[in-house]
Symmetry: C2
Subunit: 218 residues, 2 copies
């Protein structure tokens, strides 16, 4: 493919809406999920976040970036106060409803009601899961790290429970999220299903990679 | 789909390799790219990172998580010292070579040579791009934020140039990374191409979403 270039100066002079679309797209396919919380009065909140990141497996930590704007502040306020939240995968059946949660609803409005997604409570966990989501994670809030460069924050939580489709778990612990119909997104608004190219063996110098066979439990 | 559950206790008692596969998978599809750097003697280094995250568009900031292990430490040491690095999209043609860069090569070995990917230099930028990559980003190192919970670090950089396929840019600034053959990954080793479901309009309360038409520049 023939490449063109955009310089730092051109980037700075670019119309801000175009720059937002551009920079959100160039990072690559994003890890997008729905985050569920409740406020002090148990009012539910649900918001789509596309800046979720794996931090480590022992302890099992997941982070996400919270922006200083109104929609997401409900999520942040709620999870800091209650200490808990849920991360719910978005699948092909619900990606439009998931996108709709990004509308600026009033704090009193539940995005579950507004988008017709169903909340679900499990194992005495205080925050709501998304019933239509095939992979649901219960999270305990651990730390908020402020990023002074642009006023965002990295929110870190620990995994306390995982709910997953029984036929998607593999013998080596891998969960086949493509089989669970999880989707990805690019930019602010483009949603994509996936096709596996391959699972590759652990890379070592001077050893050729092999394609791993996917073996489900049972 | 019928869901099963894994509790925090089961997670803690799980074999560590299984837990690594599990936690890396449940986060969702990951933003995976190749990061190119040089050391003080201009020896090239290239490593695959699957924990890249969009931080903001003004200034244009991208972050990634660096782990305290040997392979990625070359990248970290190099970019802190030189002040620059490149982020290069992985496409269907090079995902196996990209995965191979995760092997623990000696610091003196260039992963470009070891994996047969070609380095490319542009516009006097000191760090190497991946020639086979269709979207290449020149980055200036801004800040390293240590995450004490697990010894990882959030590395923040600012976008200083973007190289992209000319037929992938849209009139609203969006770059069609699926058309550029960019792929995504899940877990530690599963690579996936994508199929667009839809680009959705900006969400507002009480307004139905529309599917956006993708209009390329020219």
């Amino acid at each position: 493919m023939k490449l063109k270039s955009i310089s730092a100066v051109e980037l700075e002079e670019m119309d801000s809406r175009k720059r937002i679309n551009l920079i959100n797209a160039i990072v690559g396919f994003k890890c997008v999920n729905l985050i569920g919380t409740v406020d002090d009065l148990d009012n539910e909140n649900l918001a789509v976040f596309s800046s979720i990141v794996h931090l480590g497996s022992s302890p099992a930590l997941i982070g996400f970036i919270a922006r200083p704007d109104s929609v997401e502040r409900h999520t942040l306020t709620n999870l800091v106060r209650s200490g808990v939240y849920t991360i719910n995968h978005i699948n092909t059946a619900i990606f439009e409803k998931a996108h709709q949660t990004s509308a600026r609803y009033d704090a009193k409005v539940s995005e579950f009601d507004a988008t017709d997604l169903k909340s679900e409570y499990k194992m005495d966990f205080k925050a709501p899961f998304v019933k239509e989501s095939n992979i649901q994670i219960a999270m305990k809030f651990k730390q908020k790290i402020d990023i002074e460069l642009n006023g965002t924050s990295l929110i870190i939580g620990e995994v306390v429970a995982i709910h997953y489709p029984e036929d998607c778990l593999c013998t080596d612990g891998f969960i086949d999220i493509e089989k669970a119909e999880t989707i990805t997104c690019s930019g602010l608004d483009s949603y994509h299903s996936t096709n596996r190219l391959s699972r590759l063996s652990y890379a070592k110098p001077d050893k050729a990679l092999e394609s791993l066979k996917i073996i489900y439990v049972d």
